[in-house]
């Protein structure tokens, strides 16, 4: 079943993600993808995540399609103007990519080439509009395409925005993204179910699918790092203490993920698991939840 079919079927969706590394080595990543391939509806491939120069998303997406996996091509607006974005989308379609996650992207100054020229010719909203335009057989200037894609576009939302203005802005943008064609949302990592429930209440009437983001917590250090440096991610102190006290950290982290997903299952339409190299933990987590 393709990701689109899964989405339209109304089932509880499960997606995961892999991040290409710096260099041409792909064996590890493909092995990680292989472990979960029969348990997920799609696998995202990140696009120079955190503005760090790496192997590209399109090539890895294509490799995943060769393995029978339906990839989600993450596309940011950071590095390409509207010419390059449209061309890359057409190229991706020609290589078998069917799903796109439209992102604004981090600023280059966050990454390992901090003085690179930021592009941001489009943003997540106008990228989504552009995907709709390509799907309709035209480019952004209104020229006819010879051969038309039919992408399934998605987007992200950050339910953990840390003040009222930020959260209102997130929700307004989410509405714009839906209007611009986003058919699904994957959220930033969620650790606080109460806050997530409140967020889902606010977006209740919106006609879209929300996949709750779950980042496997690999260490206490990682939790503290994210709390300090990753916007919208907040790991509550009791979770950090639970991990600290645990003898088997991996098991404790899996237990946390299981609890979070079980708790979120009735609030939203799916889960997006960011395992960060712990892909082998995904099947047992899903067994436990019964997915």
């Amino acid at each position: 079943m393709s990701f689109r079919q899964a989405l339209e079927s109304g089932k509880f969706l499960v997606t995961a993600e892999v991040g290409p590394g710096k260099g041409t080595e792909v064996e590890h990543l493909l092995k990680d993808a292989d472990i979960i391939k029969d348990r997920v509806d799609a696998i995202n491939v990140t696009d120079l995540q955190s503005s760090v120069m790496r192997l590209g998303s399109m090539a890895v997406c294509h490799m995943l399609t060769d393995m029978g996996i339906d990839p989600v091509f993450q596309v940011t607006c950071r590095d390409r103007n509207r010419l390059a974005l449209q061309s890359d989308l057409l190229s991706g379609w020609a290589l078998g990519i069917r799903n796109v996650l439209a992102l604004t992207g981090d600023h280059p100054s966050m990454g390992d080439h901090p003085n690179a020229k930021p592009v941001f010719d489009l943003d997540s909203v106008t990228l989504l509009e552009m995907i709709g335009t390509l799907n309709s057989g035209k480019d952004m200037s209104g020229n006819e395409l010879n051969g038309t894609p039919d992408f399934l576009p998605g987007a992200v939302v950050n339910p953990g925005a840390d003040n009222e203005a930020a959260l209102d802005l997130q929700i307004m943008k989410m509405e714009k993204k839906i209007e611009a064609g986003a058919k699904f949302f994957q959220t930033q990592g969620v650790y606080d179910l109460d806050a997530f429930e409140k967020f889902m209440k606010r977006v209740e009437g919106l006609n879209t699918k929300v996949l709750v983001g779950i980042i496997l917590l690999k260490s206490v250090g990682m939790a503290r790092y994210m709390n300090k440096n990753v916007a919208g991610v907040f790991v509550p102190e009791p979770l950090i203490q639970e991990l600290k006290a645990a003898e088997d950290k991996a098991q404790a982290s899996m237990n946390m993920a299981i609890r979070l997903i079980k708790g979120a299952k009735d609030l939203c339409d799916g889960v997006h698991i960011m395992a960060l190299g712990w892909e082998s933990k995904i099947p047992p987590i899903m067994d436990e939840i019964g997915l």
Partner: protein, 221 residues
């Protein structure tokens, strides 16, 4: 106004090292107000250069503005006496002077930063990228093209933290500022407007005012 900062002294010394007689020209408008190239800074720079090189002859002057032809013209009887002009204007002024005196090396003593304001004593912030299509009426008087690190036109990214932009804790998130401004003005509905794609202008810019050109062409002196 235009905001600039003086270059580090070694770079300026390097630029002027092959000349024995130079004229430092300050600018009486923006560069005076941002304390980068007014009469005070002209004096200070001249003293520093002479301190490093006693043989150098340095004269000083400040024009009311270096980007306006009639003020640049005031220098015309002077420049012949010097091997080079060290300009303490913004990049615009440097080029205007260079094009008026094409046979003279005109050297920049400043690094031009941006169009902005003095936020507090000694702190300047950027406000306008001169993008050619002003949208401030829809954004509560806060420019997202300039003050959002990604020049986003259709709302905030997800990167802000504690009200600040993801790029730095000393820069407020422009979209949160826009949000607060529009809320104050009862204009939050502007945030829900149709998504905008920016038409970027072709550089170098050129403004032609036919009305003024016609008046000029028909003028009988």
């Amino acid at each position: 106004m235009i905001i600039a900062e003086q270059k580090a002294l070694p770079e300026i010394q390097d630029m002027v090292s092959s000349y024995r007689k130079i004229l430092i020209v300050g600018c009486g408008t923006c560069m005076t107000f941002c304390s980068a190239g007014g009469p005070e800074e002209v004096n200070k720079l001249a003293n520093e250069l002479v301190a490093e090189n006693k043989d150098m002859v340095i004269d000083k002057t400040t024009t009311p503005r270096q980007c306006t032809e009639k003020f640049i013209d005031r220098l015309k009887d002077k420049v012949g006496d010097y091997e080079a002009i060290l300009s303490m204007a913004c990049g615009n002024g440097v080029q205007a002077v260079a094009s008026r005196f094409p046979d003279k090396p005109v050297l920049p003593a400043l690094n031009t930063q941006f169009i902005g304001v003095e936020k507090e004593k000694g702190v300047w912030t950027e406000n306008c990228l001169a993008c050619g299509d002003c949208i401030l009426w829809r954004t509560g008087g806060v420019c997202p093209v300039t003050r959002c690190a990604k020049s986003l036109l259709n709302g905030a990214c997800g990167g802000a933290s504690e009200g600040n932009c993801e790029v730095s804790k000393d820069r407020p998130c422009a979209w949160q500022e826009i949000y607060h401004a529009l809320k104050r003005l009862n204009m939050l509905h502007y945030l829900k407007g149709k998504p905008q794609v920016k038409d970027w202008p072709v550089h170098p810019g050129r403004v032609v005012r036919e009305d003024l050109r016609e008046i000029e062409a028909t003028r009988v002196d």
